[in-house]
Protein backbone atom coordinates (compact mmCIF):
# COMPACT_ATOMS: atom_id res chain seq x y z
CA UNK A 1 0.00 0.00 0.00
CA UNK A 2 1.37 3.36 -0.96
CA UNK A 3 1.72 5.94 1.76
CA UNK A 4 0.22 8.57 -0.47
CA UNK A 5 -2.97 6.75 -1.40
CA UNK A 6 -5.88 9.18 -1.23
CA UNK A 7 -8.71 7.42 0.59
CA UNK A 8 -10.96 10.43 0.79
CA UNK A 9 -12.94 11.11 -2.38
CA UNK A 10 -13.50 14.72 -1.29
CA UNK A 11 -9.82 15.41 -1.76
CA UNK A 12 -9.90 14.37 -5.38
CA UNK A 13 -11.80 17.44 -6.48
CA UNK A 14 -10.47 20.97 -6.72
CA UNK A 15 -12.96 21.98 -4.03
CA UNK A 16 -11.79 19.12 -1.82
CA UNK A 17 -8.17 20.19 -2.23
CA UNK A 18 -9.02 23.75 -1.20
CA UNK A 19 -10.99 22.55 1.85
CA UNK A 20 -8.09 20.27 2.81
CA UNK A 21 -5.54 23.09 2.65
CA UNK A 22 -7.74 25.47 4.62
CA UNK A 23 -8.33 22.82 7.28
CA UNK A 24 -4.59 22.16 7.53
CA UNK A 25 -3.90 25.86 7.98
CA UNK A 26 -6.58 26.10 10.66
CA UNK A 27 -5.38 23.20 12.83
CA UNK A 28 -1.61 23.63 12.40
CA UNK A 29 -1.06 26.09 15.28
CA UNK A 30 -2.94 23.76 17.61
CA UNK A 31 -0.94 20.70 16.54
CA UNK A 32 2.38 22.44 17.03
CA UNK A 33 1.44 23.50 20.55
CA UNK A 34 0.09 20.07 21.46
CA UNK A 35 3.10 18.11 20.30
CA UNK A 36 5.57 20.39 22.11
CA UNK A 37 3.55 20.04 25.32
CA UNK A 38 3.26 16.23 25.08
CA UNK A 39 6.98 15.89 24.38
CA UNK A 40 7.83 18.07 27.37
CA UNK A 41 5.54 16.18 29.74
CA UNK A 42 6.41 12.65 28.57
CA UNK A 43 10.10 12.56 27.65
CA UNK A 44 10.26 8.80 28.28
CA UNK A 45 8.25 8.34 25.08
CA UNK A 46 11.36 8.89 23.01
CA UNK A 47 13.46 6.12 24.54
CA UNK A 48 10.91 3.49 23.48
CA UNK A 49 10.95 4.84 19.93
CA UNK A 50 14.65 4.02 19.67
CA UNK A 51 15.91 4.37 16.09
CA UNK A 52 12.45 5.39 14.88
CA UNK A 53 12.64 8.89 16.35
CA UNK A 54 13.58 9.95 12.85
CA UNK A 55 10.91 7.95 11.05
CA UNK A 56 8.18 9.84 9.21
CA UNK A 57 4.76 8.53 10.26
CA UNK A 58 1.64 9.34 8.28
CA UNK A 59 -1.37 9.12 10.55
CA UNK A 60 -4.46 9.05 8.41
CA UNK A 61 -7.87 9.68 9.98
CA UNK A 62 -9.94 8.51 7.06
CA UNK A 63 -12.92 10.81 7.50
CA UNK A 64 -10.97 14.05 8.05
CA UNK A 65 -9.96 16.25 5.11
CA UNK A 66 -6.25 15.89 5.90
CA UNK A 67 -3.67 13.46 7.26
CA UNK A 68 -1.09 14.04 10.00
CA UNK A 69 2.65 13.88 9.51
CA UNK A 70 4.60 12.97 12.65
CA UNK A 71 8.37 12.79 13.00
CA UNK A 72 8.99 12.17 16.71
CA UNK A 73 12.54 13.47 16.80
CA UNK A 74 12.99 15.18 20.18
CA UNK A 75 15.52 17.59 18.64
CA UNK A 76 13.28 18.58 15.75
CA UNK A 77 9.69 17.55 16.40
CA UNK A 78 7.33 17.55 13.45
CA UNK A 79 3.56 17.20 13.80
CA UNK A 80 1.62 18.84 11.04
CA UNK A 81 -1.57 18.49 9.08
CA UNK A 82 -1.01 17.71 5.42
CA UNK A 83 -3.34 17.40 2.44
CA UNK A 84 -3.28 13.78 1.32
CA UNK A 85 -2.27 14.75 -2.19
CA UNK A 86 0.78 16.53 -0.76
CA UNK A 87 1.71 14.06 1.98
CA UNK A 88 5.41 13.29 2.35
CA UNK A 89 6.73 9.82 1.64
CA UNK A 90 6.23 8.10 4.96
CA UNK A 91 8.17 5.28 6.57
CA UNK A 92 5.01 4.02 8.22
CA UNK A 93 1.31 4.65 7.74
CA UNK A 94 -1.41 4.22 10.37
CA UNK A 95 -4.97 4.55 9.10
CA UNK A 96 -8.38 4.42 10.77
CA UNK A 97 -11.31 6.51 11.95
CA UNK A 98 -10.29 9.61 13.88
CA UNK A 99 -11.82 8.61 17.20
CA UNK A 100 -10.23 5.14 16.99
CA UNK A 101 -6.81 6.73 16.46
CA UNK A 102 -7.46 9.06 19.39
CA UNK A 103 -8.46 6.12 21.61
CA UNK A 104 -5.43 4.11 20.53
CA UNK A 105 -3.21 7.04 21.44
CA UNK A 106 -4.78 7.03 24.91
CA UNK A 107 -4.86 3.21 25.27
CA UNK A 108 -8.61 3.30 25.54
CA UNK A 109 -8.68 0.78 22.70
CA UNK A 110 -6.35 -2.13 22.04
CA UNK A 111 -4.34 -1.78 18.84
CA UNK A 112 -4.12 -5.51 18.16
CA UNK A 113 -7.88 -5.88 18.54
CA UNK A 114 -8.45 -2.95 16.16
CA UNK A 115 -6.08 -4.63 13.70
CA UNK A 116 -7.85 -8.00 14.03
CA UNK A 117 -11.22 -6.33 13.36
CA UNK A 118 -9.71 -4.53 10.33
CA UNK A 119 -10.68 -1.14 11.73
CA UNK A 120 -6.98 -0.25 11.83
CA UNK A 121 -4.62 -0.48 8.89
CA UNK A 122 -0.87 -0.24 9.01
CA UNK A 123 1.61 -0.15 6.17
CA UNK A 124 5.30 0.43 5.69
CA UNK A 125 7.74 -0.20 8.52
CA UNK A 126 5.88 -2.41 11.00
CA UNK A 127 8.61 -2.10 13.62
CA UNK A 128 8.19 1.68 13.62
CA UNK A 129 4.46 1.29 14.20
CA UNK A 130 5.00 -1.21 17.03
CA UNK A 131 7.52 1.09 18.71
CA UNK A 132 5.20 4.09 18.47
CA UNK A 133 2.33 2.05 19.88
CA UNK A 134 4.44 0.79 22.81
CA UNK A 135 5.80 4.26 23.50
CA UNK A 136 2.32 5.76 23.68
CA UNK A 137 1.04 2.85 25.72
CA UNK A 138 3.56 3.59 28.47
CA UNK A 139 2.08 7.05 29.02
CA UNK A 140 -0.15 7.32 32.07
CA UNK A 141 -3.32 9.32 31.62
CA UNK A 142 -4.95 10.69 28.50
CA UNK A 143 -2.89 12.62 25.96
CA UNK A 144 -6.13 13.76 24.29
CA UNK A 145 -7.41 15.22 27.55
CA UNK A 146 -4.06 16.86 28.27
CA UNK A 147 -4.19 18.45 24.85
CA UNK A 148 -7.79 19.56 25.29
CA UNK A 149 -6.98 21.01 28.72
CA UNK A 150 -4.35 23.27 27.13
CA UNK A 151 -7.22 25.22 25.61
CA UNK A 152 -9.23 25.46 28.81
CA UNK A 153 -12.94 24.72 29.13
CA UNK A 154 -13.56 25.25 25.39
CA UNK A 155 -10.94 22.59 24.56
CA UNK A 156 -12.45 20.10 27.00
CA UNK A 157 -15.95 20.81 25.68
CA UNK A 158 -14.85 20.22 22.09
CA UNK A 159 -13.24 16.87 23.00
CA UNK A 160 -16.33 15.76 24.92
CA UNK A 161 -18.58 16.79 22.05
CA UNK A 162 -16.37 14.98 19.57
CA UNK A 163 -16.53 11.77 21.58
CA UNK A 164 -20.30 12.07 21.94
CA UNK A 165 -20.71 12.62 18.23
CA UNK A 166 -18.70 9.50 17.40
CA UNK A 167 -20.43 7.36 20.00
CA UNK A 168 -23.77 8.25 18.40
CA UNK A 169 -22.66 7.19 14.91
Amino acid sequence: MSSTVDTNPRNRTIGGAVVSRLACAAVQPILSRVVRRVAARHPSLFARLGPHQSTDFLIDPIELPFALHLRPDPKALVFRAVPRDAAPKAGAVIRGRFLLLLELMDSEEDGDAAFFSRDLEVAGDTEAVVRLRNALDDVDGSIAEEAAAMFGPPGKAILARLRRAYSET
Partner: protein
Protein backbone atom coordinates in the same frame (compact mmCIF):
# COMPACT_ATOMS: atom_id res chain seq x y z
CA UNK B 1 -9.60 -25.07 47.00
CA UNK B 2 -6.35 -23.81 45.47
CA UNK B 3 -5.38 -20.16 45.70
CA UNK B 4 -6.28 -19.45 42.06
CA UNK B 5 -3.83 -16.57 41.81
CA UNK B 6 -4.27 -14.31 38.81
CA UNK B 7 -0.97 -13.91 36.92
CA UNK B 8 -1.10 -10.96 34.52
CA UNK B 9 1.08 -9.63 31.69
CA UNK B 10 2.90 -6.31 31.54
CA UNK B 11 4.97 -5.05 28.61
CA UNK B 12 5.53 -1.59 30.07
CA UNK B 13 5.58 0.00 33.52
CA UNK B 14 2.22 1.63 32.80
CA UNK B 15 0.76 -1.77 31.91
CA UNK B 16 2.13 -3.20 35.14
CA UNK B 17 0.45 -0.47 37.17
CA UNK B 18 -2.75 -1.07 35.21
CA UNK B 19 -2.61 -4.81 35.94
CA UNK B 20 -1.97 -4.27 39.65
CA UNK B 21 -4.77 -1.72 39.90
CA UNK B 22 -7.14 -4.08 38.08
CA UNK B 23 -6.54 -6.81 40.66
CA UNK B 24 -3.56 -8.88 39.54
CA UNK B 25 -2.12 -11.11 42.26
CA UNK B 26 1.14 -11.17 40.33
CA UNK B 27 2.48 -9.52 37.20
CA UNK B 28 5.09 -11.05 34.90
CA UNK B 29 7.46 -8.97 32.82
CA UNK B 30 10.89 -8.96 31.22
CA UNK B 31 13.95 -6.88 30.44
CA UNK B 32 14.60 -5.13 27.12
CA UNK B 33 16.78 -7.91 25.73
CA UNK B 34 16.89 -11.51 24.55
CA UNK B 35 16.41 -12.97 28.04
CA UNK B 36 12.65 -13.15 27.60
CA UNK B 37 10.27 -14.51 24.99
CA UNK B 38 8.63 -11.16 24.21
CA UNK B 39 11.73 -9.27 23.13
CA UNK B 40 9.71 -6.90 20.95
CA UNK B 41 10.65 -3.35 19.84
CA UNK B 42 9.77 -0.66 22.36
CA UNK B 43 8.52 -3.21 24.89
CA UNK B 44 9.71 -4.28 28.34
CA UNK B 45 11.58 -2.80 31.27
CA UNK B 46 14.91 -1.17 32.02
CA UNK B 47 16.38 -2.14 35.42
CA UNK B 48 15.39 1.29 36.75
CA UNK B 49 11.81 0.81 35.56
CA UNK B 50 11.68 -2.66 37.08
CA UNK B 51 12.85 -1.29 40.43
CA UNK B 52 9.97 1.20 40.43
CA UNK B 53 7.55 -1.48 39.25
CA UNK B 54 8.53 -3.86 42.04
CA UNK B 55 8.04 -1.10 44.61
CA UNK B 56 4.63 -0.23 43.14
CA UNK B 57 3.45 -3.84 43.04
CA UNK B 58 4.69 -4.69 46.52
CA UNK B 59 3.10 -1.59 48.00
CA UNK B 60 -0.23 -2.88 46.68
CA UNK B 61 0.30 -6.49 47.74
CA UNK B 62 1.09 -7.86 44.28
CA UNK B 63 4.11 -9.91 43.23
CA UNK B 64 6.45 -9.41 40.30
CA UNK B 65 7.67 -12.42 38.33
CA UNK B 66 10.64 -11.88 36.02
CA UNK B 67 10.57 -13.86 32.78
CA UNK B 68 14.03 -15.20 31.89
CA UNK B 69 12.43 -17.81 29.72
CA UNK B 70 14.59 -18.01 26.63
CA UNK B 71 17.56 -20.28 25.96
CA UNK B 72 21.07 -18.78 26.05
CA UNK B 73 23.09 -19.60 22.94
CA UNK B 74 26.44 -21.23 23.62
CA UNK B 75 28.90 -18.78 25.10
CA UNK B 76 26.33 -16.07 25.79
CA UNK B 77 24.93 -17.18 29.13
CA UNK B 78 26.32 -14.10 30.90
CA UNK B 79 23.37 -11.98 29.73
CA UNK B 80 20.94 -14.35 31.47
CA UNK B 81 23.08 -14.54 34.62
CA UNK B 82 23.32 -10.76 34.82
CA UNK B 83 19.57 -10.45 34.33
CA UNK B 84 19.00 -12.90 37.18
CA UNK B 85 21.41 -11.01 39.43
CA UNK B 86 19.70 -7.72 38.59
CA UNK B 87 16.26 -9.19 39.21
CA UNK B 88 17.38 -10.58 42.56
CA UNK B 89 18.87 -7.21 43.55
CA UNK B 90 15.62 -5.45 42.63
CA UNK B 91 13.54 -7.81 44.74
CA UNK B 92 11.48 -9.78 42.20
CA UNK B 93 9.39 -12.52 43.76
CA UNK B 94 10.16 -15.29 41.29
CA UNK B 95 12.01 -16.09 38.09
CA UNK B 96 10.25 -17.81 35.21
CA UNK B 97 12.84 -19.97 33.48
CA UNK B 98 13.04 -22.55 30.72
CA UNK B 99 16.73 -23.35 30.31
CA UNK B 100 18.32 -25.81 32.73
CA UNK B 101 21.56 -23.87 32.86
CA UNK B 102 19.73 -20.68 33.84
CA UNK B 103 17.67 -22.62 36.38
CA UNK B 104 20.82 -24.15 37.85
CA UNK B 105 22.56 -20.76 38.11
CA UNK B 106 19.60 -19.18 39.91
CA UNK B 107 19.10 -22.17 42.20
CA UNK B 108 22.75 -21.94 43.30
CA UNK B 109 23.17 -18.16 43.33
CA UNK B 110 19.78 -16.95 44.52
CA UNK B 111 18.33 -19.92 46.42
CA UNK B 112 15.92 -17.73 48.35
CA UNK B 113 13.95 -16.71 45.24
CA UNK B 114 11.26 -18.93 43.79
CA UNK B 115 11.77 -20.61 40.44
CA UNK B 116 8.81 -21.12 38.12
CA UNK B 117 9.17 -23.36 35.10
CA UNK B 118 8.12 -21.52 31.94
CA UNK B 119 5.79 -23.01 29.37
CA UNK B 120 8.83 -22.60 27.11
CA UNK B 121 10.31 -25.65 28.83
CA UNK B 122 7.37 -27.69 27.43
CA UNK B 123 7.33 -29.95 30.50
CA UNK B 124 4.09 -31.87 30.18
CA UNK B 125 4.72 -35.15 31.99
CA UNK B 126 5.05 -35.77 35.75
CA UNK B 127 8.51 -37.25 35.15
CA UNK B 128 9.80 -34.13 33.37
CA UNK B 129 8.27 -31.75 35.92
CA UNK B 130 9.64 -33.74 38.86
CA UNK B 131 13.11 -33.58 37.32
CA UNK B 132 13.04 -29.76 37.42
CA UNK B 133 11.65 -29.81 40.97
CA UNK B 134 14.22 -32.24 42.30
CA UNK B 135 17.26 -30.72 40.61
CA UNK B 136 16.52 -26.99 40.69
CA UNK B 137 13.89 -26.59 43.38
CA UNK B 138 11.19 -25.43 40.96
CA UNK B 139 8.10 -24.37 42.91
CA UNK B 140 5.62 -23.99 40.05
CA UNK B 141 5.20 -25.31 36.52
CA UNK B 142 3.40 -23.43 33.76
CA UNK B 143 1.78 -26.23 31.80
CA UNK B 144 1.71 -26.39 27.99
CA UNK B 145 -1.70 -25.71 26.45
CA UNK B 146 -2.09 -29.25 25.12
CA UNK B 147 -3.51 -31.00 28.19
CA UNK B 148 -7.09 -31.85 29.08
CA UNK B 149 -8.41 -31.05 32.56
CA UNK B 150 -8.42 -34.76 33.56
CA UNK B 151 -4.76 -34.93 32.51
CA UNK B 152 -3.96 -31.84 34.60
CA UNK B 153 -5.76 -33.38 37.57
CA UNK B 154 -3.66 -36.52 37.23
CA UNK B 155 -0.39 -34.60 36.86
CA UNK B 156 -1.22 -32.59 39.99
CA UNK B 157 -1.32 -35.83 42.00
CA UNK B 158 2.12 -36.84 40.80
CA UNK B 159 4.21 -33.69 41.16
CA UNK B 160 5.53 -31.83 44.21
CA UNK B 161 4.96 -28.30 42.88
CA UNK B 162 2.19 -25.84 42.05
CA UNK B 163 0.49 -25.71 38.66
CA UNK B 164 -0.13 -22.60 36.58
CA UNK B 165 -2.26 -22.76 33.42
CA UNK B 166 -2.98 -20.22 30.74
CA UNK B 167 -6.62 -19.12 30.72
CA UNK B 168 -6.67 -16.38 28.08
CA UNK B 169 -4.71 -15.22 25.06
CA UNK B 170 -2.44 -17.02 22.64
CA UNK B 171 -3.61 -20.56 21.98
CA UNK B 172 0.04 -21.69 21.68
CA UNK B 173 -0.10 -25.28 20.53
CA UNK B 174 3.45 -25.65 19.26
CA UNK B 175 5.89 -27.69 21.34
CA UNK B 176 6.99 -24.53 23.06
CA UNK B 177 10.62 -23.69 23.32
CA UNK B 178 11.21 -25.83 20.23
CA UNK B 179 9.51 -23.77 17.50
CA UNK B 180 11.95 -22.79 14.73
CA UNK B 181 9.49 -21.44 12.16
CA UNK B 182 10.52 -17.80 12.66
CA UNK B 183 14.17 -18.81 12.56
CA UNK B 184 13.58 -20.60 9.26
CA UNK B 185 12.38 -17.44 7.52
CA UNK B 186 14.12 -14.60 9.34
CA UNK B 187 17.28 -16.04 10.88
CA UNK B 188 16.15 -14.86 14.31
CA UNK B 189 15.19 -17.35 16.98
CA UNK B 190 12.01 -17.32 19.04
CA UNK B 191 13.74 -19.44 21.65
CA UNK B 192 17.13 -17.70 21.85
CA UNK B 193 16.40 -14.14 20.68
CA UNK B 194 12.90 -13.95 22.12
CA UNK B 195 11.31 -12.85 18.86
CA UNK B 196 8.39 -14.52 17.13
CA UNK B 197 7.74 -12.95 13.72
CA UNK B 198 9.93 -9.90 14.40
CA UNK B 199 8.15 -6.70 13.42
CA UNK B 200 11.13 -5.62 11.34
CA UNK B 201 10.40 -8.54 8.99
CA UNK B 202 6.62 -8.07 8.85
CA UNK B 203 4.89 -6.19 6.07
CA UNK B 204 1.22 -5.67 5.26
CA UNK B 205 -0.15 -4.86 1.85
CA UNK B 206 -3.66 -3.72 1.06
CA UNK B 207 -5.00 -4.72 -2.33
CA UNK B 208 -7.49 -3.01 -4.63
CA UNK B 209 -10.28 -5.46 -3.72
CA UNK B 210 -9.96 -4.54 -0.04
CA UNK B 211 -8.08 -7.70 0.93
CA UNK B 212 -4.87 -7.48 2.95
CA UNK B 213 -1.90 -9.79 2.80
CA UNK B 214 0.65 -10.26 5.53
CA UNK B 215 4.23 -11.12 4.75
CA UNK B 216 7.13 -12.30 6.85
CA UNK B 217 10.61 -11.82 5.40
CA UNK B 218 9.05 -11.46 1.96
CA UNK B 219 6.95 -14.62 2.14
CA UNK B 220 3.18 -14.21 2.06
CA UNK B 221 1.69 -16.11 4.98
CA UNK B 222 -1.95 -15.06 4.72
CA UNK B 223 -4.36 -12.94 2.75
CA UNK B 224 -7.50 -11.76 4.52
CA UNK B 225 -10.60 -10.95 2.49
CA UNK B 226 -12.07 -7.45 2.70
CA UNK B 227 -14.62 -8.48 5.33
CA UNK B 228 -12.49 -11.09 7.07
CA UNK B 229 -11.03 -10.72 10.56
CA UNK B 230 -7.24 -10.79 10.77
CA UNK B 231 -4.70 -12.59 12.94
CA UNK B 232 -1.06 -12.21 13.93
CA UNK B 233 1.53 -12.53 11.15
CA UNK B 234 2.98 -15.77 12.47
CA UNK B 235 3.87 -18.71 10.29
CA UNK B 236 2.04 -21.13 12.57
CA UNK B 237 -1.20 -19.28 11.89
CA UNK B 238 -0.57 -18.76 8.19
CA UNK B 239 -2.92 -19.95 5.48
CA UNK B 240 -1.32 -21.82 2.64
CA UNK B 241 -2.27 -23.24 -0.71
CA UNK B 242 -1.34 -26.74 -1.77
CA UNK B 243 -2.17 -28.79 -4.87
CA UNK B 244 -5.04 -30.46 -3.05
CA UNK B 245 -6.10 -27.25 -1.19
CA UNK B 246 -6.06 -24.56 -3.88
CA UNK B 247 -8.17 -22.13 -1.82
CA UNK B 248 -5.69 -22.11 1.05
CA UNK B 249 -5.93 -23.67 4.49
CA UNK B 250 -4.48 -23.31 7.96
CA UNK B 251 -1.72 -25.90 7.97
CA UNK B 252 -0.85 -25.64 11.68
CA UNK B 253 -3.19 -23.43 13.73
CA UNK B 254 -5.92 -20.90 13.13
CA UNK B 255 -5.96 -17.28 14.29
CA UNK B 256 -7.94 -17.87 17.46
CA UNK B 257 -7.46 -17.14 21.17
CA UNK B 258 -7.75 -19.34 24.21
CA UNK B 259 -10.52 -18.35 26.62
CA UNK B 260 -11.14 -20.65 29.58
CA UNK B 261 -13.52 -18.39 31.46
CA UNK B 262 -16.15 -21.13 31.50
CA UNK B 263 -13.72 -23.72 32.84
CA UNK B 264 -12.31 -21.85 35.84
CA UNK B 265 -14.23 -23.85 38.50
CA UNK B 266 -13.11 -27.14 36.96
CA UNK B 267 -9.51 -25.96 36.77
CA UNK B 268 -9.54 -24.91 40.40
CA UNK B 269 -11.08 -28.25 41.33
CA UNK B 270 -8.35 -30.02 39.36
CA UNK B 271 -5.75 -28.36 41.58
CA UNK B 272 -4.54 -25.46 39.44
CA UNK B 273 -2.89 -22.87 41.71
CA UNK B 274 -2.56 -19.96 39.34
CA UNK B 275 -4.23 -18.66 36.18
CA UNK B 276 -2.07 -16.96 33.59
CA UNK B 277 -3.25 -14.31 31.13
CA UNK B 278 -1.07 -14.13 28.01
CA UNK B 279 -0.26 -10.84 26.29
CA UNK B 280 2.78 -8.84 27.36
CA UNK B 281 2.78 -7.44 23.82
CA UNK B 282 -0.76 -6.12 24.21
CA UNK B 283 -1.90 -2.66 25.32
CA UNK B 284 -2.98 -1.29 28.69
CA UNK B 285 -6.51 -1.40 27.34
CA UNK B 286 -6.25 -5.18 26.88
CA UNK B 287 -4.64 -5.62 30.30
CA UNK B 288 -7.32 -3.52 31.98
CA UNK B 289 -10.20 -5.32 30.26
CA UNK B 290 -8.99 -8.88 30.64
CA UNK B 291 -7.60 -8.60 34.17
CA UNK B 292 -10.74 -6.84 35.43
CA UNK B 293 -12.97 -9.52 33.90
CA UNK B 294 -11.00 -12.45 35.30
CA UNK B 295 -10.51 -10.78 38.70
CA UNK B 296 -14.28 -10.57 39.05
CA UNK B 297 -14.78 -14.14 37.83
CA UNK B 298 -12.21 -15.61 40.23
CA UNK B 299 -13.63 -13.61 43.14
CA UNK B 300 -17.14 -14.83 42.27
CA UNK B 301 -15.98 -18.43 42.26
CA UNK B 302 -14.09 -18.03 45.52
CA UNK B 303 -17.26 -16.62 47.08
CA UNK B 304 -19.34 -19.52 45.78
CA UNK B 305 -21.18 -17.43 43.21
CA UNK B 306 -21.51 -18.25 39.50
CA UNK B 307 -18.81 -16.39 37.59
CA UNK B 308 -20.25 -13.52 35.63
CA UNK B 309 -17.69 -12.90 32.89
CA UNK B 310 -17.51 -9.94 30.58
CA UNK B 311 -17.47 -10.79 26.88
CA UNK B 312 -13.84 -10.63 25.74
CA UNK B 313 -14.23 -11.80 22.15
CA UNK B 314 -13.41 -8.34 20.79
CA UNK B 315 -9.91 -8.73 22.23
CA UNK B 316 -9.29 -12.18 20.78
CA UNK B 317 -7.14 -12.98 17.76
CA UNK B 318 -9.25 -13.28 14.64
CA UNK B 319 -12.12 -12.38 16.99
CA UNK B 320 -12.59 -16.07 17.68
CA UNK B 321 -12.08 -18.03 20.89
CA UNK B 322 -11.67 -21.65 21.93
CA UNK B 323 -11.25 -23.82 24.99
CA UNK B 324 -8.76 -25.85 22.97
CA UNK B 325 -7.33 -29.02 24.43
CA UNK B 326 -8.59 -28.13 27.90
CA UNK B 327 -12.05 -29.12 26.69
CA UNK B 328 -11.15 -31.83 24.19
CA UNK B 329 -8.20 -32.86 22.07
CA UNK B 330 -10.55 -32.78 19.08
CA UNK B 331 -10.89 -28.98 19.15
CA UNK B 332 -10.27 -28.65 15.41
Amino acid sequence: MSLAELICPAGTPAALRTAVDAGADAVYCGFQDATNARNFPGLNFTPEELAEAVAYAHAKGAKVLLALNTYPPAGKVDLWRQAADTGARLGVDAFIVADMGVADYIARTHPGIRLHLSVQAAASSPEAIRYYCENFGVKRVVLPRILTIPEIRQIRKEIPCEIETFIFGNHGLMVEGRCSLTNYLTGQSTNMDGVCSPASDVEYARHADGSMSSQLAGFTIDCFGAEEKAGYPTICKGRYTAPHRPKGYYAFEEPISLNLSQLLPELIDAGVHAFKIEGRQRSKSYVRGVVTAFRKAVDDIRAGRPANMADLVALTEGQKQTQGAFETKKWR
